[in-house]
Symmetry: C2
Subunit: 636 residues, 2 copies
């Protein structure tokens, strides 16, 4: 049954898992008319993903959702313990401990957060509700088409109530599949899964509450024994998750549908953990499932119907990457759709969704293949490991299955989410970018376009609050201009020139103003001039010497985004202002960082006297803006 | 109309303001059958208190309520600005800035948190609801009596619905007045208010959203001008509170009922702030009220009917102490009632509620009288201040009305809440305490019984989480034993002896066990043995060398309360384990701190081999326990 008046949407999201929910949450905030459907009757009740990696927690913070996540008292993983067979005799012993997020990883929150997926979904569902969006259940997609003619809503979607069979047809600008590995949309589009490696694994996973004398039961552990391998993941509310690899397609008798009963898996765990004891108080969830490593050949065919999350990439669950990669997929797409739909960016920028995210999926699968193979490989007999160094000594970084440990460490930046480095493209400045000026890439700076801007603490001038600079602009779809302005005396002329060039008719800020400037509140902190740009200004002077009112009026309007770089780390006392130092800017003259709405660096330019800085930024934004920016531009 | 079956309660709380709500929240958690009534129809909608001082935030954190407070995005006050008349000519200028909570104050959260009282009340009301308690409104107390015979519920209370006039009679063990300055219960008991000082003040207070070019509008400011004085308090959601003193009884034409219209106060503010401009977008609340400084002569007459909060002490609102003092009153009473009602402590301990809290109220009023007088005093003419040093220089601690500034600073520890130092009594060990042994007060320690235990960060051994030690035991009514155990090799025998003496039949831990030990969950973290005691053990060894299972079984049962003192502050790298150092304990041999359920230090004892440590603690608890503890005790 098709209703007479067809509802229209900006986006229809199929699948209310992590990727669909984060996408919908962003787009609903950006003003998209959003419909979210899921064929399940309820949010995830048990099982599935549970690991929030450090960078994902950062994203949730930037979305204002971290507090709601933490209210569930998740387990936090600061360290990972490695257990191996005793060198002589029976049993296992701890051979190494490694930080979950070592200091060389530039993480605001240096730990993984483990919480049941259903609770995480609940945080998004509550936020969607605030924006008037309810997940509609149980509703499955049964057909869709993009007729390419019917602008502005060329995609027709037919949905069916899984119980009543009642159908509804809606029209939408965009359709998104967050359906997971078994995707109706992907299959219908005929997009193939490319298998990275023909090795397939069968896993058992068990969530439960246990009693045990195994000392690291509250830690993330990787345990190899002569009887097999287990990974332990601590969770909220005394839960613990055990991953047990049941079979690998390289095994002689491999069966991809191999099952194991709860008792069989429990017995396997008991054998592996000996001489320690383990008993289950209760089991919350148990499942076995085959995993192969696959990646979708395309993430979209037409920039109208998109896919993300498990729909595009499947791999082993061991490195806790599934939900996190889904978050990054969703975020990457969200702000690009926003920029296109709000008339700022050309539609072609949507191409970068696939190019950026597919590259990361390839990296993930490369890592995963290596890691999973190492994990499941039985250790060689004791005699062959005679050269290994002894025992745990101070408990850090001794030998054991060194290759496994090294793979783990090499991958830590990547798995934390901070290793994501998008390549040069229209958003990530490089020497191939259309915008070229000597003002780009000022000497000394330490940033890389395409990577996340490092975190820093600064003091807000208006209220003396110590704040996390990278979170001062919420995830609202705007580009963020961090103007490191060094010493007010030195940068005075450069700031004056910066402001006066921003005020020129053809500047990126002036060409995309609010549609009704008079409706902008006096209290608008982030976007007083344009919905697409926020500006932060960071000085190195003492707070009491910074007079916001003496800045050029355009800049003083960002009065709650003026900071001083005076939060000292005692260990770095000699290095001067920390934020300037961390970015590699002169503490006298500073520099400007443009950051994408997702927190990744767009480009870095010098803060120079004259029009050079704004000229360069006009060129940068002109590479993808719908309107022409800047005038006749001088090549510095 | 009196109903036939009379409801009985453990406590009836009259008044659902901060003091009543915090008391009820604690007692409901401790299992008290709790009734809360308020004659107002709704929680506070506008106005009233808004300042949460650092120690109060700590208490809220310990109650697990800080996250809910912070979810309202309160303003945070890190610094306070002082403004004075220009030395020459018209207008005002900033003469000094001071930290709201300077480093010498031992604060976990070194800022004040400003949030509308109604939102704070809402956090407690939601928590009470989780424990099945709804605030009943609009219900006023009209009579009560303590017949002293009708055990266990000797207090009869008659309540009346303020609209229908319907009355209900209930019986209760305890009655509490959190009614505020106008207390029916206090009047009926005939308890007098003792006036510290006959100076009475009339204040205007205005909450609103403003537009202004005054640069410190987001700061807490004290502004003196030739036209009068104002205090500015920033608030959540762009609100700002202005306090304007309208009259003082030392004025010649004093009128305690002096009123001023909104426009009059706005005009006064405009005059005082010149040369800056201020306009109001909207006004949320406005009030004028007379304040005198008074203190109730008694807080209870019979240890059955108690009073706290504004009912017991009134003063000026300027130092932001009202709600905070109320919190401390409530917390102080809550755990003592719990210990008495659960059969652990003698009823006489309730005497310490009045003795501890009235002393603090006296200190508060002394401070307040001095502070308010200084604040309202007009500055002398310019010529008389010629000796004052010039201008703001580096913006810190220059002159201005120096006496006022000095009073502010001297009081900062007190107003933060960390200066509260209860005197020696049955709970706060001193040389006059019944328990005397050489093991008390080990040499070198830096703690003071009656003051809050300093905050420290340590690493939890079980899961490698970095945690706030002082918050590891939630506010659950238990005494907290922090066993600083130094190096495992050094303290091994002392710990063994500590455990074996705790296991003896007459130890404080053994005499007050759980009523049904078998019902205690394997996962009980805090109170595996006794509902009245939690134990934390802190070593100085590397985490990987601490084997929880090798501790004496009684102690290893506190497996999630074993820590290592390895969280280094770079600035203190030479001083060894920070927590041990901060407490003044040897990093080899440690020492034991007993902390009251409210976070104040009870006593400090050495961690010695033999029975000395437990003997001393048995003596300490024996001073107020209902059962005899310890046997024949050796005087070391």
């Amino acid at each position: 049954m098709v209703t007479n008046t067809i509802e229209v949407y900006d986006i229809v999201v199929v699948g209310a898992g992590p990727v669909g929910l984060l996408l919908a949450t962003c787009l609903a905030r950006f003003g998209f008319r959003t419909k979210v459907v899921d064929k399940r009757h309820t949010p995830t009740l048990t099982g599935r993903a549970d690991g929030i990696q450090p960078r994902s927690l950062d994203i949730l913070r930037n979305l204002g959702l971290k507090r709601a996540i933490m209210a569930h008292e998740p387990a936090k993983v600061y360290e990972v313990a490695f257990w191996d067979p005793m060198r002589e005799g029976e049993g296992i012993h701890r051979t190494s401990i490694s930080r979950a997020c070592p200091p060389f990883v530039e993480a605001r929150y240096p730990f993984a957060t483990c919480l049941h997926q259903g609770l995480i979904e609940g945080v998004f569902i509550a936020d969607l509700r605030k924006n008037g969006v309810e997940v509609e259940r149980p509703l499955a997609i049964v057909n869709f088409s993009n007729d390419r003619n019917d602008e502005p809503h060329p995609v027709e979607v037919i949905l069916e109530h899984t119980e009543s069979g009642e159908q509804q047809t809606v029209k939408t600008k965009y359709l998104f599949s967050g359906e997971g590995a078994k995707s109706f949309i992907r299959e219908r589009l005929g997009i193939q899964i490319h298998h990275k490696d023909r090795v397939m694994n069968v896993w058992g996973v068990m969530d439960g509450v246990v009693e045990t004398d195994f000392p690291d039961i509250k830690m993330k552990c990787t345990i190899h024994s002569q009887q097999g391998s287990i990974m332990i993941i601590p969770r909220e509310n005394n839960l613990v998750r055990l991953y047990i690899q049941l079979a690998t397609s390289s095994d002689e008798d491999f069966d991809p549908h191999r099952q194991a009963t709860v008792v069989e898996v429990q017995n396997a765990a008991k054998q592996i953990l000996k001489p320690y004891h383990i008993e289950w108080e209760r089991i919350e969830w148990y499942s076995t499932y085959p995993i192969d490593q696959g990646i979708a050949e395309r993430y979209t065919l037409d920039n109208r119907v998109f896919m993300g999350g498990d729909c595009c990439h499947t791999h082993s669950p061991k490195a806790g990457q599934g939900m996190n990669t889904a978050f990054h997929d969703a975020l990457n797409l969200a702000w690009k759709l926003h920029l296109v739909e709000s008339g700022f960016a050309n539609e072609s920028v949507l191409d970068t969704y696939e190019s950026e995210r597919k590259m990361i999926a390839e990296e993930l699968l490369d890592f995963d293949a290596r890691y999973a193979a190492l994990f499941s490989r039985r250790l060689p007999p004791i005699s062959k490991r005679a050269s290994e160094k002894a025992d745990i000594a101070d408990g850090h970084e001794t030998n054991a299955s060194e290759e496994f440990l090294n793979a783990f460490k090499e991958s830590q930046e990547f798995t934390s989410g901070y290793g994501i480095a998008y390549h040069g493209n229209v958003f990530n400045w490089s020497l191939l970018h259309p915008a070229q000026s000597l003002v780009f890439d000022p000497s000394g700076h330490k940033l890389t376009a395409g990577r996340v801007m490092p975190h820093t603490d600064v003091t807000r001038v208006a209220d003396a609050n110590v704040v996390k600079l990278e979170h001062e602009i919420p995830l609202n779809g705007s580009f963020r201009l961090f103007v490191f302005a060094g010493k007010p005396d030195y940068s005075k002329q450069a700031l004056t020139d910066f402001a006066s060039n921003l005020q020129k008719q053809q500047s990126f800020l002036a060409v995309y103003p609010h549609q009704d400037a008079r409706s902008v509140s006096y209290h608008e902190r982030h976007n007083p001039h344009s919905p697409f740009f926020s500006i932060c200004i960071i000085f190195t002077a003492p707070r009491s010497q910074i007079v916001i009112e003496s800045l050029p009026p355009l800049l003083s309007r960002y009065r709650e985004h003026v900071y001083t770089d005076d939060v000292m780390c005692p260990a770095m006392q000699d290095t001067g202002p920390r934020a300037h130092f961390k970015m590699g800017f002169s503490e006298d003259r500073g520099g400007v960082i443009v950051v994408r709405p997702d927190g990744h660096v767009s480009c870095v330019v010098g803060l120079v006297e004259g029009s050079g800085t704004v000229d360069a930024l006009n060129q940068y934004f002109n590479a993808f803006s719908t309107k022409r920016l800047g005038g006749v531009q001088s090549r510095l």
